[in-house]
Amino acid sequence: MGLQIIKPNTNLDFIGIRKVAFILSAILILAGLGSLLIKGGPKYGIDFAGGMIVQVKIDKATDVNAIKDAVDELKLPGLIVQSLGLEGDHEYLIRTSSSAISSEEVRAKINTALSDNLGTSFEIQRLEMVGPKVGADLRSQALEALFYAVLLIAVYISGRFEQRWTAAAVMAAGLAGGVYGIGLLGLDMGWLILVALVITVGLCWYLKLNYALGAVAALIHDVIITVGLFSIMNKEFDLTIIAALLTIVGYSLNDTIIVFDRIRENTIAKQGKMSFGSIINLSVNQTLSRTIMTSATTLLVVLCLFVMGGSVIHDFALALLIGITVGTYSSIFVASPVLYGFGPSEHPEAEAEA
């Protein structure tokens, strides 16, 4: 037998320390939400807000302010210059909130401004322009993506775990109807997601779909914390971050389901012999080696991506790094205690052992 991180028959009392975990989660969530509130919502990248970015690579290290001064005379609205990637890359991002000027014009202007003022060679590596209409469309597409992901996953868990496809279908219909209704009011993306999630949690609770409730709670927890930390770190939201968030959703659930699977198995095996809390504790401990091992290997590769993956996927990797860490934590400290709080599934014996 190889190495062991977790000794067999380890029995840590996860349910017992759930209050500490709740406080920790609450602090993280509130900090993130507070940051979002102060900053007036997430900071959208050009994918969602529209505008133009130009990525420039300069031959030698240049002060951001020097570049800003160089392009300042162009009078581009909402001009922001920032450095990108790692220290030695000398890559800079010039961003303007306007998409009304032609890219040709911007490219030419930046070329002239930089060659006049910097006195070193440079290269325009990337230029992206998103018009306001497309930006709004991409925003609503991202909303739909997140919404359908949560919806389908909640339905899948309810059906698969509790063999209650009817309840799952009721939930799907209720959620779709609710969100459609809210959509008619013309609320913006953030509110729509919030409402969709509240409806999901409410329906899970009402229909006593406790496994789905635990899993969805953990997933919301992870997404909110990741979004909040991104806001605190002043990172922008663009399409790749949405991809990262959906990956986190997938990963977080993956992790939660493996623990839940064990809980379900133990609930059937030890019915009447153990309290539900002990069953959960036992299950989390039994899967602990796996949880740690898998998270460690996944984090290892994401860390490589973060450190060496280059400027373009840097923020994407950062989101994954946060999300996977939080996702691992939440499957142990959020999903299982929520399931504990609401009790075992109503009909565990109804299912077929496959």
Binding site: P8, E104, E123, L127, V134, I153, D261, V301, L305
Partner: protein
């Protein structure tokens, strides 16, 4: 263990297939003799990896409809005249209706039968006016509108494709999207701005007669004789920019770009580039008649509403050739010839979204992406062997196999590998070991319970399979949604993620089991197992 041989054969077959599809992606293999017998051409690299342009174009459907209705109105006028029914020039009312005035009320019946027989119009309203005239409002049915929209989109795409083909880009990708949008992807392009200019130019070429008798001052104040319009004449400056001066034109085009069969760049005696046009047979006849009728008058060559040159017609020009001069640079003349040859866009297009990535960033992205993947993978391989011993070796073998299958799968399905796609593979590496970890932890549990190695392996696989399936389905759901709603690079990520999950289940559950069974096949029941 009779089925062991069968299972091994299946696994071997899949592995060979994967290998056959993956190998052409490796540099060196594609062009070798081995590359010739292998299927496919390897993995397509996305724009973010090889550089290039991604554009979303919006087709101005309102202008397209206006133009179409104006043309229908002209046709109506012509058809009416053939029946000796006279109407005033129709005007476009809105996106689905025109108004037209019938000069003599007694021709009402004749006119209405012309409408019915020759046009798709329906009469919405007919109002008698003073002086024996009747004013009609004519509309086209919604079905006609949607047909025109479809035709406009198809023609726009065809025109853009023609232009890109002439511009010479390998593997362009042009697609129709919803909301009258067109998505264009041009990989590996050096000069994005020039390409955008060529794609976006409407290139509506018209020949119009200049009205030199008009008073320019009055015209600039908006006082114009009927059937006249203002335009601007471009003069090229020494520094390359254009200056504009006003010019009055007769509104009706005497000839349009539709009659142009070819356009070429030529150099005149002073080495200035100009565009030589060749008309088709019908155009040549019109042009000959026109020049004969208008000797000593000026004819304006109008492109997208601007006059590039307005030469005086010295004599009748036969042979169907004309030229556009305008002090062009050679490159400008070449690009102009390209758009004229490829035909005009049926409606103006605007660039709604544009992403261009330089080839150097692309190379950097590949290098750093591949580098981080290699390092990440090496670390994971090491971890697994250290932690699980023999089991770790098995996990490593199937992990490498898994990556090979993902690459082969991407090549086989013709998917495009993007930077987020590489991230997807890297993430899969991390998550692929998950299945093995779940299985091994189960096997360890069974071993602790005192079961034999063979029994533990069988139990471990049996119990873990369903868990793995459950856990992965949710990730696949997320990936499918990403694919459905995402564009470009995000789709690439979704594809690799889905493929990665499928192949990792195959390798971790199916193939690794074979390796364990082979290992334990000829061993005693009480043999030790390093997991």
């Amino acid at each position: 263990m009779q089925s062991l041989r069968l299972r091994a054969a299946i696994a071997l077959l899949v592995v060979l297939l994967g290998l056959a599809f993956m190998l052409p992606s490796l540099p060196g293999v594609k062009d070798s003799s081995l590359g010739n017998i292998l299927p496919g051409n390897g993995i397509n690299l996305g724009l973010d990896l090889k550089g290039g342009i991604y554009l979303t174009l919006g087709v101005d459907m309102k202008t397209a409809m206006d133009n179409n209705l104006a043309r229908l109105g002209d046709d109506l006028k012509a058809s009416a005249r053939e029946q000796d029914v006279y109407i005033l020039r129709p005007t476009v009312l809105n996106e689905s209706a025109i108004t037209v005035t019938l000069i003599k009320a007694e021709q009402k019946d004749a006119f209405e039968s012309v409408i019915k027989d020759y046009t798709p119009f329906a009469i919405e309203q007919a109002t008698p006016l003073d002086g024996d005239k009747v004013k009609y409002v004519l509309s086209v049915p919604p079905k006609y509108r949607s047909e025109i929209e479809k035709l406009t989109m198809d023609q726009a795409i065809k025109t853009i494709r023609n232009r890109i083909d002439q511009f010479g880009v390998a593997e362009p990708d042009i697609r129709k999207q919803q909301d009258n949008r067109i998505q264009v992807q041009l990989p590996g392009l050096e000069d994005p701005e020039r390409a955008i200019k060529i794609i976006g130019q409407t290139a509506h070429l018209e020949f119009k007669m200049v009205d030199d008798s008009a008073d320019l001052k009055k015209a600039q104040q908006g006082i114009l004789a009927p059937g006249r319009e203002m335009s601007v004449l471009l003069h090229r400056q020494a520094n390359g920019s254009y200056a504009e001066s006003p010019i009055v034109l007769k509104r009706d085009a005497v000839l349009t770009g539709e009659y142009v069969s070819d356009a070429q760049v030529r150099l005149d005696q002073w080495n200035n580039a100009y565009v030589a046009l060749t008309f088709n047979a019908r155009g040549a006849k019109i042009f000959t008649d026109l020049t004969a009728e208008n000797v000593n008058k000026r004819m304006a060559i109008v492109l997208d509403g601007k006059v590039y040159s307005a030469p005086v017609i010295r004599e009748r020009i036969s042979g169907g050739k004309a030229s556009i001069t305008g002090n062009f640079t050679r490159e400008e003349a070449r690009d102009l010839a390209v758009v004229l040859r490829a035909g005009s866009l049926p409606a103006p297009v605007t660039i709604l979204e544009q992403r261009s990535v330089g080839p150097s960033l692309g190379q950097e992205s590949i290098d750093s992406g591949v580098m981080s993947a290699m390092v990440g993978m090496a670390l994971v391989l090491l971890c697994m062997v250290v932690y699980y011993g023999f089991g770790g070796v098995v996990a490593d073998i199937v992990l490498l196999l898994n990556i090979m299958l993902i690459m082969g799968g991407l090549a086989a399905f013709g998917a495009t590998l993007t930077l987020p796609g590489i991230a997807g593979i890297i993430l899969t590496i991390g998550m692929a070991v998950d299945a093995n970890v779940i299985i091994y932890e189960r096997i360890r549990e069974e071993l602790r319970r005192g079961l034999s190695a063979k029994q533990s392996v069988a139990e471990g696989y049996g119990r873990a399979t369903l868990t793995i399936l459950d856990a992965n389905v949710t990730t696949v759901i997320a990936a499918i949604i990403l694919y459905q709603f995402g564009t470009g690079p995000i789709r690439g990520f979704a594809v690799t993620l889905t493929l990665g999950i499928i192949t990792s289940m195959f390798t971790a559950i199916f193939v690794s089991r074979i390796l364990f069974d082979l290992y334990l096949k000829n061993r005693a029941d009480n043999a030790k197992l390093s997991v």
